[in-house]
């Protein structure tokens, strides 16, 4: 009996640390995961409107972060700089659709995908020429003093990331449910031909989709920049991660992209903490392969086999 007590205390203390550790992985994973989710959502929206995987999605993220840094540098206050950067990204997205995707609208989907790859190289090159090759740090929106929670720590910026992501998801849900354009986007995603017959201008839907995706990407790039830093080539990695998030959730599902993104972030943090920091980047891909083998429609996707 007497020997049991201290042992109990030790295990309790130990599990306390273990819980704090778990919580820390969860916080870190969710923060990064939320940005993956926003980027993934951008992929899903364009994919739904056209079956195009927009490889320039990551560049919207880059434009968001880098343009904010640049606008602050020329003396604008942070909120104005953020609005300016988002506007720049949206204009870029719309221009990309109008000037590069629309003229080739009759081309094969693969061709359109390669056009977006060309666009991403072009935009990255332009950013490198205009803004240089250095990394930049964006100031945190409300300080850097960590918040302590259950033995784990959280940056105020993480709350911004999670809060803004949540707000955007709610706003998008409202947009798709209650606005005419939102409903038209959903209809096009569901069946483009039928939507066309119903008088929906599917080309315009794609135009709007690019703007919307650019907005999501830019916001992701801005809110995460104080944590992760930003540079002209930051879009390569975040773009790829966003794509993986979208695939993880079943390409083309908005809910899937959000869950996929959060999941991806959490998996990475957990894998780094519990399995192997060397192989943490491989874990999501192993999961993707397993899903494709055993659950081919993804976690939230539509049926795997298409109708004739």
């Amino acid at each position: 009996m007497g020997a049991g007590r201290p042992l109990l205390v030790i295990t309790a203390g130990c599990s306390g640390i273990m819980f704090a550790e778990f919580l820390q992985y969860l916080f870190s994973g969710m923060t990064i995961g939320a940005t993956y989710a926003l980027v993934g959502l951008g992929f899903a929206i364009i994919y739904n409107a056209s079956h195009v995987i927009n490889f320039a999605q990551g560049e919207f993220v880059m434009i968001g972060g880098m343009a904010t840094v640049f606008l602050i540098h020329i003396g604008l206050p942070l909120p104005v700089a953020i609005l300016g950067a988002v506007a720049l990204a949206v204009v870029t997205g719309l221009a990309l659709e109008k000037l590069a995707v629309e003229p080739a609208r009759n081309a094969d989907v693969v061709t359109l995908i390669i056009i977006t790859i060309g666009a991403s190289i072009f935009l990255r090159g332009l950013a490198q020429v205009l803004w240089g090759k250095e990394f930049f740090a964006l100031p945190a929106f409300s300080g850097n003093d960590p918040i302590h929670l259950g033995g784990a720590t959280l940056l105020p910026q993480s709350l911004w990331v999670l809060g803004i992501t949540l707000a955007i998801v709610v706003a998008l849900a409202w947009f798709f449910k209650y606005t005419l354009i939102g409903k038209a986007i959903l209809a096009t995603a569901c069946n483009a031909d039928a939507a066309k017959m119903m008088g929906i201008n599917t080309q315009f839907i794609l135009f709007i989709s690019f703007g919307l995706s650019a907005l999501l990407g830019a916001v992701a790039g801005i809110i995460v920049a104080p944590i992760t830093l930003t540079s002209y080539d930051v879009g390569i990695m975040l773009g790829l991660k966003g794509f993986v998030a979208a695939v993880l959730g079943g390409l083309g599902s908005a809910v899937g992209a959000i869950v996929g993104g959060l999941l991806l972030g959490i998996i990475e943090a957990m894998a780094a903490g519990y399995i192997s920091s060397d192989y943490k980047d491989a874990v999501p891909f192993v999961i993707i392969l397993l899903i494709l083998f055993f659950l081919p429609s993804g976690l939230f996707g539509a049926r795997g086999t298409e109708r004739v």
Binding site: P103, A104, D108, V247, L292, P296, G304
Partner: protein, 318 residues
């Protein structure tokens, strides 16, 4: 006889052989040979990949992975375990063949971009493993590979390699055309790519697609092995995602479902970075712009669009 020569298949092969035979006259030094060899290596991979993209309608985002797997299998087995290069190459082929079959069989039963996702995952996993297991692969800094030897004869230097790769290019173009013209391939094209129609007339489209995928993966593996021996130095970038994307870009730029288009795509994307090297910081801007503009104005790719234009022009004239 003459009719046979003007047949696009044989005529094209003859012209290709002629170009390969005469090109050295225009190559002033080893650097040019090196670029030509790299064009050849890329071209063979892309001819294989074109089978998958152009004829099976599937995208692979993991062919860099197969290329890298071939390269590292050869590199490791010859350098670390002292295997003869040909045996190592064939082992690479077996590994990649089996791997691609295992992945493709269940996934190609589904329609949609699932193969793209599976190959994306597979390719990235391969490159992560190569990069991490540095005790065997030399890690991110790469590893040296011994020259290719066969029965005591050493293949070394640009000029011998040029002829070997040139010959292989002709052979692989010939093989690709034969696969496309096989009964299953014809059936698939005869019904204008409609899978359902093909299945209705009794064609095993899934089996055919799996075959095309495995063949294209094996093409990549073989060229990975040969590249490793030729270059003498390989890095995980060979297996990376961006190499995979580059290969797909070559197919699309040259023209999908066109074997010669694949060749032109390989030539352009291999030569372009060399031409643009003088632009320094503007290289990416120009490269991206060329890629975009080409496909905006020639969405079918270079060769199909140009041949079409040529036909129109001739038709209009006569």
């Amino acid at each position: 006889m003459l009719a046979k020569l003007t047949h696009p298949r044989i005529g094209g092969l003859l012209i290709l052989s002629l170009i390969i035979a005469l090109l050295p006259l225009a190559l002033p030094n080893n650097y040019y040979y090196d670029v030509a060899i790299k064009i050849g290596i890329n071209a063979i991979v892309v001819v294989g990949l074109n089978l998958l993209i152009g004829y099976a309608g599937q995208i692979s985002l993991g062919h860099g992975g197969f290329f890298g797997l071939g390269a590292y299998t050869s590199g490791i087995l010859t350098a670390v375990y002292g295997w003869p290069p040909l045996l190592a190459l064939l082992t690479g082929v077996a590994v990649v063949g089996v791997l691609s079959f295992i992945v493709a069989r269940p996934i190609l039963r589904l329609t949609g971009h699932y193969l793209a996702m599976a190959t994306l995952g597979l390719g990235i996993i391969i490159s992560i493993v190569i990069s991490n297991e540095d005790w065997l692969t030399g890690g991110p800094d790469g590893m040296y590979v011994e020259p290719f030897t066969l029965l005591g004869w050493e293949l070394y230097g640009e000029k011998p390699w040029y002829w070997v790769i040139g010959a292989l290019l002709v052979i692989s173009v010939w093989m690709a055309m034969n696969i496309v013209d096989s009964p299953a391939g014809r059936a698939l094209r005869a019904v204008h790519g409609s899978e359902v129609a093909a299945q209705v007339v009794g064609v095993d489209t899934t089996g055919y697609k799996v075959l095309l995928f495995v063949v294209s993966a094996v093409f990549a593996s073989v060229m990975g092995s040969l590249f490793a021996h030729y270059s003498g130095f390989i890095t995980p970038a060979q297996a990376g995602f961006f190499h995979s994307i580059e290969l797909v870009t070559m197919v699309v730029l040259g023209g999908m479902a066109s074997t010669y288009g694949a060749l032109v795509g390989a030539v352009l994307l291999t030569v372009l970075p060399q031409l643009l090297s003088g632009f320094e910081d503007f290289e990416m801007v120009i490269f991206g712009l060329i890629l975009m503009l080409t496909l905006i104005f020639m969405p079918k790719g270079l060769v199909p669009t140009l041949t079409h234009k040529l036909k129109d022009w001739r038709g209009g004239r006569s």
